[in-house]
Amino acid sequence: MSTTTTSDNNSSTTEARTKNADSIIQIEGLNKWYGTFHVLKDIDLDVAKGERIVVCGPSGSGKSTLIRCINRLEEFQEGSLSVDGVALNEDIKNIEAVRREVGMVFQHFNLFPHLTILENLTLAPLWVRKIPKKEAEATAMEYLERVKIPDQALKYPGQLSGGQQQRVAIARSLCMNPKIMLFDEPTSALDPEMISEVLDVMVELAEEGMTMLCVTHEMGFAKKVADRVIFMDAGQIVEQNNPHEFFDNPQNERTQAFLSQIIGH
């Protein structure tokens, strides 16, 4: 009995592979409940290597939960999810393997306040990748240059502005040299004048070909860099399309209502 199940799984994975040779994230029939509340309903999603996806939708639609499933910060009850060929299941080894390759940027930065900026950046390379300290620090400084705050390396997160902290958070994820970057509303907690400095860094990253999934309300960013925009409502993917079609010619009425609301104000 169990053998059949395994071979079934295998064949379905191979099928998915052949369907899209360079897909890096495969999500099939994903369902998640918080207690009795059905947050994610039958999500199917294939993300190609180098693809840049923007996920939008009203609050409570499950978009954050969805991308948090990808690095298993949230568990799900049904369906399958594999990242770069590794199936996410109960196996903690698999989970940690996926997390090493998937970077995540949070709404509230979540920098480690007791460590300096440089220590924030080198922590995971040192303890997870076991990279020598000198090398890790050199890489960290490189990424701090790229997000344009190398002079803050020895300060603590509490001494930086929100925009600077978020750029540090991006650099911290990049130091692990991830294959995929997840952004969970990275600019929602920022003061208006700081949003663009974070978006600039993200645009740059997108232009370098990083695979990105980004939950955001920044529609300008979506138009500029996204290959695909996904609209979610009530735990379902309602509509997905390239940004041009998505913004100019939305098909679903809920999408239309959502877009008119955020663009209208």
Partner: protein, 367 residues
């Protein structure tokens, strides 16, 4: 091009807002009730402080060796002076007291080093001394390996209090951390074991645990096996304070935002690394005042071992008060002295805790 932003220069506050008179107005005489309280406490100070000073210093007896030389009306400090050896070392053989001294000096050195060593050595030296110092001090106190053995029933006085407190602190912190982590564990078995042991030791008075340790525990040992009385007291105190420590640390753990764990996990750090590198450093830091509070309580609780017949400082004082040469009623001197010694130590501990807090402050909020 004169549109650069120049902030307005700060002006000095008006003279009515600063200076000693403003301070007095503000803090001593700001309202009729405050004025009344100020006058009342000024009276108390003037009425009671001079007699106390007179008793303790001016009319006190400092010189001499026997009770009969206490002729002045004040305190008879000769009593304390004559018993000081006992009060510090108990019945530890006089010619071997240098070993206790050495252990105590070592303790001070270990603590002081943490403040004066250069940053890069501090942590390494700290860990080494934490592992090595207890072994050396036990060897010095107990003997063996070339030193004359001094059995634990001879240990006593204030050095015993310090020893019990230090050993208790050293053990209760790690046990408390493990219990606190276990209490939050996802594994039901670990969780149940931790919660029930914490609640057991927290819900019982220390005296009860001490009695249990000294009277009942031996019943459970096979015949012939005997656990040292001091050891039993030490285990009892440690378990009792560990339970409190666990709750203190749990408070710290719960104050750390979930985002910290999520950020660490998303970087690929596993449970133990996340705890060790991210959660515990922050949780322990915010718990420092409460941890030190528990340490101070532990230190003071070491006097309770007198009820199972260990001669720490308080029971030594009681023994001294019953001595036929000193029956002149020196209770006040004795207890004032013990109180003073404990106050000095506990106050020092709390000052050290404030110092550590300031040093660890990395500015969570922007300032």
């Amino acid at each position: 091009m004169d549109n650069t932003f120049t902030p307005i220069e700060a002006r000095k506050p008006p003279s009515s807002a600063i200076g000693p008179i403003a301070w007095m107005k503000e803090s001593l005489f700001s309202s009729p009730v405050n004025t009344l309280l100020t006058v009342f406490f000024a009276y108390i100070i003037i009425r009671f402080i001079p007699p106390v000073l007179d008793w303790a210093f001016i009319s006190a007896n400092w010189v001499g060796t026997t009770q009969d030389e206490c002729t002045k009306s004040g305190a008879c400090w000769i009593f304390i002076k004559q018993w000081s050896g006992q009060l510090l070392y108990g019945s530890y053989p006089e010619e071997l007291r240098w070993r206790v001294n050495l252990a105590l000096i070592g303790l001070v050195a270990v603590v002081v080093m943490q403040f004066f060593l250069p940053q890069h050595l501090r942590r390494r030296v700290g860990w080494v001394s934490l592992l090595v110092y207890p072994l050396i001090s036990i060897w010095l106190m107990y003997g063996g390996l070339g030193l004359e053995t001094v059995s634990t029933d001879k240990w006593g006085g204030f050095s015993l209090n310090i020893l019990l407190a230090f050993a208790g602190i050293l053990m209760s912190l790690p046990i408390g951390i493990i219990w606190a982590l276990g209490r939050q564990s996802q594994m039901p078995f670990v969780k149940v074991v931790c919660i029930s042991s914490i609640e057991l030791f927290r819900g019982v008075p220390l005296i009860t645990i001490l009695f249990m340790g000294s009277v009942m525990l031996p019943l459970f040992f096979p015949a012939g096996v005997q656990l040292d009385k001091l050891m039993r007291a030490f285990i009892a105190i440690t378990l009792f304070q560990s339970a409190y420590m666990a709750e203190v640390i749990r408070g710290g753990l719960q104050a750390i935002p979930k985002g910290q764990v999520e950020a660490a996990n998303s970087l690929g750090l596993g449970y133990w690394k996340t705890m060790r590198l991210i959660v515990l450093p922050q949780a322990l830091k915010i718990s420092i005042p409460n941890i030190v509070n528990t340490f101070i309580a532990l230190f003071k609780d070491t006097t309770l071992v007198l009820i199972i017949g260990l001669f720490e400082i308080l029971s030594t004082i009681q023994a001294a008060l019953q001595n036929s040469n000193w029956l002149g009623g020196h209770h006040i001197e004795g207890y004032v002295f013990v109180a003073f010694v404990f106050w000095v130590f506990c106050y020092t501990m709390s000052r050290i805790s404030v110092h550590i807090e300031q040093k660890l402050n990395t500015g969570h909020s922007r300032s």
